[in-house]
């Protein structure tokens, strides 16, 4: 069930959210509804509307016309609500089990009404707490393979794919990634944020022309390679999970980009959590990384053989070429993610909550070395196991 409606923008209140839910008949007419705004208020309002008799609940998410970052506001397009809605709907065609159901959306109000997932936990928080989330990587591997294959020229009609490219042109959100992932951390830019003890390590990155050349090539891929409809921000904070279930949320950065970017962000965030742990507890995360890749390959290969629409999917060696390209790019994008999460504007709690302080600094130094080495060694690392050896070698240095 999804209807799309337009009107003028105004921010919702809790009472307005209840009224909207009633008007849309998302609950029985006589339901006793409560509402709490549970968002962090930085980018979006998030209302949880609940029937107190049945405990049924829904989420009404409304984009705000600005972002609050480092204490200041900057304007941010409301169009991201449209992108998020249509990305969820498109992904839901291929993996309904891994995305929230969308009940309603209103482009002008920048509202998406969807399934409430609060029985699950954000996977970053769960991993930081030391939970294993045993099915996380199997589910994410399948999510990646199916959402990416079926929106690419390999598995989508070429005409349909081109209208999707047009629908998902997303300049404002892409600009955030272009700046915060691929640019600012590699230059002395005032959005960067890091501890004074890292100054020397950071300057080493800024002066490393060979590293920056590789980042330039990765940024070029992000800017130009319209391979598939990416989630675009697939870190562990965009994944709700528990022992059995996994749901990928917040695809407001969705656009047509290189498949390796989504895969690489998953790799990067698993690695960030892994290195934040004491070495004897790292294997769970490293295995998650290997499983993500193996399941991705398996599901992508199945889809390719069963549903390949491009005639060249029948040509010997093309699948292997595409997979090796994706893997190589994933390694590089993972490196960028690790560096920007360490010294850029948007940090991750995995690193920032490490205690004591000395271990935090040492881990961040490891992170910078690891990120740089991944970026420089994209062509050397060919299999995920080798990737892991590489991580352990780097961390030991």
């Amino acid at each position: 069930m999804c209807a799309v409606k337009s009107s003028g923008y105004e921010p919702l209140t809790e009472n307005g959210a209840i009224a909207l839910a009633k008007r849309l008949q998302l609950f029985d007419e006589k339901s006793n509804l409560t509402c709490n705004e549970i968002g962090d208020g930085n980018l979006n309002l998030v209302f949880k509307v609940k029937n107190i008799d049945t405990n049924e609940s829904i989420i009404i998410k409304q984009a705000l016309p600005y972002a609050k970052v480092v204490g200041e506001s900057w304007p941010l397009t409301l169009d991201r609500a449209r992108i998020e809605t249509y990305a969820l709907l498109k992904q839901g065609e291929f993996v309904p089990q891994y995305v929230p159901k969308v009940f309603y959306s209103d482009e002008k109000l920048a509202i998406t009404i969807m399934e409430d997932l609060s029985h699950l936990q954000i996977s970053r928080a769960a991993l930081i707490e030391g939970k294993d989330l045993p099915l996380l990587s199997k589910h994410i591997g399948e999510f990646l393979a199916k959402t990416l294959f079926y929106t690419s020229d390999y598995g989508a009609d070429q005409h349909v794919k081109k209208s999707l490219v047009k629908q998902f042109i997303n300049p404002d959100l892409c600009k955030i990634t272009e700046d915060l992932v691929f640019t600012d951390p590699f230059f002395d830019h005032d959005t960067n944020e890091y501890e004074p003890e890292l100054q020397k390590d950071v300057e080493q990155i800024w002066q490393d022309e060979a590293l920056k050349l590789e980042v330039a090539k990765l940024k070029q891929k992000f800017l130009t390679k319209a391979e598939a409809l990416l989630h675009g921000d697939l870190h562990t904070g965009s994944i709700f999970a528990d022992e059995k279930e996994t749901k990928v949320i917040d695809p407001e950065f969705a656009y047509f980009g290189p498949i390796g970017f989504d895969v690489g962000q998953v790799f990067g965030n698993f690695l960030l959590n892994a290195i934040s742990r004491h070495s004897e507890k790292q294997d769970v995360l490293l295995n998650h990384l290997i499983t993500t890749w193996n399941v991705f390959v398996e599901e992508f290969t199945t889809a390719w053989k069963k549903d390949g629409l491009e005639i060249y999917t029948k040509v010997d060696g093309y699948l292997e070429y595409v997979l090796s390209e994706i893997f190589e790019e994933s390694v590089g994008f993972a490196g960028c993610e690790i560096i920007r999460r360490t010294i850029g504007l948007a940090h991750v709690a995995d690193l920032d909550t490490i205690q004591p302080y000395d271990r935090k600094i040492a881990t961040k130094q490891f992170a910078l070395t690891l990120g740089s080495e991944l970026i420089k060694n994209q062509k050397t690392i060919k299999r995920p196991e080798q990737f892991i050896d590489f991580v352990k070698e780097t961390v030991k240095q």
Copy 2:
């Protein structure tokens, strides 16, 4: 001067073309106008409207809602007139000297009114007649460098570039290239057309899995690499020229693709003309190819250094990387162009008019070998001179 107007579609007549020119005041009110339809009637109506007292003239080009190919009609989007108009206007911002002036366009009528270039000759015809067109490659090198650099992420604002990508989504015309350049000639497809004497050579191509794997990779680049606003159909039949002047016409295939595609089509068409000649007359064309590349590099480098908007344009080695990528892709795309012009649906007069018949067949066999070798040796050929040696070696075999 360019106005854009909308209304319902109907095909123009010669009298209607005169009336339109008068209504738009493109001539003085009391002018004595004549009109001839000079198009080939396959894709477009082309009216030349002339003031018989002053000899001033203009061209009114109107897209037809179908294409006549191999005796049959298939529907073809009128949207290509919009694409052509906006591509001419965009290219005109960077190289007004190399594109016809646009005076008026009407999207619904699928009409573009532009400068009459009939004092020039289509460069394919001129080259077949043995004319040298001494400035052709210098002009085309500059046309390529400036139109491609200033619409790419290297030289365009990233937000502006993304709206251009959206504006130039061109699925119908791209599909023609995807099929006729990258697919049909490499499979036993009924659009292919070739002399019975070539059957064995053609089957060799169809059975060459290594070749087809390389074509798959090139097609992937064509489908996904949104690097710059291409002309999209830059063969010598899309270029008007004489000894002094060069004008690039017909950009209805324009879309955001890999820079190497435009460059490669130029290379491919120069090579097709070169191999159609007796060996002592080939150097003019081979030099045109070298000059195109050298001027392209020179102008692209100047633009990059002067107007690079991407911060990574300042990073050592990035320009060299981008240029070597473009060159490598150009070699491959040239190979595809040579093969499809030999055995695919749309032939070139350079080969088809060769006499006697035996020499024509032998040259077409050369063409297939040359095209295949270029595709397979993209990484070996690093400089245009080497490219030329390679051509001469292949032709001798």
